[in-house]
């Protein structure tokens, strides 16, 4: 199946919540295990996923989230502490289902050669420095990502 040229997947990761953090690293690490070339472009809120400090504090929002396993009315979700509560619950559910931690999956991506491209423009907007990002990231803009994505067999926006 795999001929001379490896298959390629390009992902745009634009969200910075805990629930949005998983799909890019799950698909990217799996694609790498399937011998694909993978790059993830972390832009806008997605930049948090490769931010050293902020990626340790990813949260799930209980507001406007009717798909949550235990949906709460928005008016309740607004109460201080509810975001922390929803995040705690999600982490607990994930753990009981033996799902790996986000950081672990992110490490597996880098280990298996997935390219992480941090959006330079987003960094300028939020005042994020290169040293604020985890080891192993590259910096680039739309053109840098598109050069890779141009030859992609799969392109995903998450």
């Amino acid at each position: 199946m795999s001929k001379d040229k490896p298959k390629r997947m390009a992902i745009i990761s634009a969200n910075g919540t805990l629930d949005a953090a998983y799909p890019p690293v799950i698909l990217a690490s799996t694609a790498a295990a399937m011998d694909m070339e993978v790059a993830i472009f972390f832009t806008f809120y997605g930049l948090d996923l490769i931010h050293k400090k902020r990626s340790k504090k990813l949260k799930v929002s209980p507001i406007a989230n009717p798909a949550a396993p235990m949906p709460v009315p928005n008016i309740i979700g607004m109460i201080p502490g509810m975001t922390g509560m929803a995040t705690w619950m999600m982490k607990r559910w994930m753990k009981s289902a033996n799902v790996a931690k986000f950081e672990e999956l992110r490490d597996m991506c880098l280990e298996s050669g997935v390219r992480f491209i941090g959006c330079q423009m987003t960094m300028d907007v939020y005042g994020v420095k290169e040293k604020d990002l985890i080891e192993g990231c590259e910096l680039g803009g739309a053109a840098a990502f598109l050069e890779f994505a141009m030859d992609a067999d799969i392109t995903l926006y998450m």
């Binding site: 199946m1 795999s2 799996t30 295990a33 399937m34 799902v99 298996s112």
Partner: protein
């Protein structure tokens, strides 16, 4: 033909995508033509391990459901 297992990966109690990621690592650690045994409890692995071995050009010798949430695969490294 005798199927001699060279290495066993215990991927039990791991969820998607870990069984596939660990299988990849374990397969790299054995030689070409050797056989990797994978044990898993994730029901998704019944679809995932065969898909992974097909797309990466390895040979799936067998996939068995030994019981509820108890799966065993034999994959031969071809490349």
């Amino acid at each position: 033909m005798m199927t001699e297992v060279h290495s066993t990966l215990d991927a039990r109690n791991l969820s998607c995508p870990m069984p596939v990621l660990k299988s990849k690592k374990a397969l790299k650690a054995i030689e070409i033509n050797q056989i990797l045994e994978i044990l898993a409890t994730d029901p998704g692995s019944m679809a995932d391990i065969p898909a992974w071995s097909r797309t990466t050009g390895q040979e799936l010798i067998s996939s068995e459901e030994l019981g509820p949430k108890n799966f065993r695969f034999l994959v031969k490294r071809l490349k």
